[in-house]
Subunit: 352 residues, 2 copies
């Protein structure tokens, strides 16, 4: 158990942005949100997964939508609490802990902001070990834990509660409501007991994000290589260093979708994304695929570059980081493998 | 108070199809649904608005979606009860009465089917005095009665509960969920007390539908004119008798939209629709507009022709029937007048 204060947020946002593999929302906005809440209400208690009582009621809260919209359409600040209360009422529970549904720039910090506001502790972990674009793409789905009831709140004061027959239907209905209300909503769903957390979470990812963020910051201060600082800590392989020469991006169906080309000194890498970077190919050779993490960093600074921020001329380095091993099981790949997203290739492990 | 049995359904379906002004769903399907329920569970009690106790809890139930889809995608039979139970749970109430949200072929009979199943009485009336395509287009909106919480159930077993800041937002969110789940869902919403019914309902429309349906049937049996039988009972004016020479129809945004041309002996009438017939023009002259009822009947038989069933070659007569006077107030026209639907004309009363 430790406390997260305003001074910790910069590192967490940076590290979560790296682990968010291009998605999970803008780290800058997430940091502002959490900063404002902690400044007003005081620091947040972080507890490790093995410190959570078996009968705890752990509620993930997150933003759902297209990050391309999320960067322009700011929350009014009441959404996450409204979603939490709607969920508590629908299910007849009181949350004892909050947790991140994914590690991403915004969505790792959304629970911290709500935790400051409510005084609830936050569990150190998340339900993906990275970010994915769709709500059913969580370890609880693999563990048979329902997303429903899923509470959704928008910036206008609308809330809805979805009781779906599957986590995929919860995603579809929530996504449709998200698009109808402006492509950026906040959700509370996938309630877990403390006993379910080992199956439902990747443990320790908030701490990992903080360490990654700190490593990059320290490397910069020491005039060391911030990219090496990331791979030294998180493992992973170097895919390319180069310049972004092309980005195409559309906001459709509640997602930011598109692709990008990065030209290096002797190779060209193509990235495909749906909120998150999902596929990296070099001259038609598949180099890395979802569910492994494809992370785009500014070469000079090590700052993460999200899919909605990537633009022509960015000097970037692309890393491949291994995902949680539960994602590369047959059930995991069915849920989040490249074929689910329509890419005509099988998953292949990262090059060595 | 009287009973509705299977023998009454044919007349009600026909009459409601006429008053449904082309929408409200297929009268044939509605009749089958109510027939099956009443055959299994027994007749339904119909009570007049002035017989309902002031503290009664009156719940409208209905189909929401595109009738073009509704004719092919049949309900599984559990949706309305699922919607009612979800609403009761969300609001902490028990329904004492059911009522139709609109008079239309399907939606006047959906409450009868659920009433047979639950044993609840049905109030003789509806919240429009016709059918309209969107959920907020009800007299309760004019009376300040919220649609929320609105419970929605689909054929797959998904339910959701919408708590919207306005009846228009309830429509938008429910419509998005409707489209996501296959364009045909069932809803329970806009709960009224008995005391609110005079403001929220057009009284007596189920009885009126039964009388209209009987008048058409009797006229046919007597070799009299079934069209005249309608206007003798319901008033209204004759707009054209002719042949349908063109229909264009698309299913977009959860609605069936389009237009049709009817050529008579000396004139040509153009109809525009969004689920319901909303505008009738003759050689660019506006003859009739929403909220007045534009009713298309088979000339020979007096059977109503819905917007999704209208096709080339139909021999039809188009009638204009006056709407409930609350719809032609400024607030009413803002909600359901021709400009709301994007037609570039003001409301004009029916020709005399």
């Amino acid at each position: 158990m430790r406390e997260i204060d305003v001074a910790d947020l910069d590192d967490i946002a940076r590290g979560a942005g790296i682990l968010g593999t291009g998605g999970g929302g803008d780290p800058y906005l997430g940091r502002l949100l959490a900063e404002a809440a902690i400044t007003r209400h005081g620091p947040v208690t972080l507890v490790a997964v093995d410190e959570v009582p078996a009968d705890a009621v752990v509620v993930p809260v997150s933003m759902l939508g297209a990050p391309t919209v999320g960067t322009e359409k700011l929350p009014n600040g009441t959404e996450t609490l409204a979603a939490l209360r709607a969920l508590e009422q629908a299910r007849g529970i009181s949350a004892t802990h909050l947790v991140a549904i994914e590690i991403g720039g915004m969505n790792s910090l959304v629970p911290l902001a709500l935790a400051a506001e409510t005084g609830l502790p936050v569990v150190d972990g998340d339900a993906m070990g990275r970010a994915f674009p769709e709500a059913q793409m969580v370890l609880p789905t693999l563990a048979g834990i329902p997303a429903s009831p899923m509470a959704v709140a928008d910036d206008k004061g609308n809330t809805l509660t979805v009781n779906a027959v599957s986590n995929l239907w919860a995603e579809r209905i929530a996504r449709a409501a998200c698009v109808a209300t402006g492509c950026s909503v906040y959700t509370a769903d996938t309630v877990m007991t403390g006993a379910q957390l080992p199956d439902g979470l990747v443990a320790g990812t908030l701490t990992l994000a903080a360490r990654l963020g700190a490593a990059v910051r320290t490397a910069r201060a020491d005039h060391a290589n911030p990219i090496t600082a990331v791979t030294d800590l998180a493992g992973g392989v170097h895919l390319i260093t180069g310049k972004v020469t092309d980005v195409h991006r559309t906001t459709t169906g509640g997602f930011g979708r598109g692709g990008a080309t990065i030209v290096g000194t002797d190779a060209e890498l193509r990235l495909s994304f749906q909120n998150e970077y999902l596929l990296a190919t070099r001259h038609d050779e598949v180099l890395a695929t979802t569910p492994d993490l494809i992370c785009v960093l500014e070469t000079d600074t090590g700052e993460p570059v999200t899919t909605e921020a990537l633009r022509y001329g960015n000097r970037v380095t692309v890393l491949g980081l291994p995902c949680d091993p539960r994602w590369t099981t047959p059930a995991g790949l069915e849920l989040v493998g490249p074929r689910y997203f329509g890419y005509d290739c099988d998953y292949r492990g990262l090059p060595r």
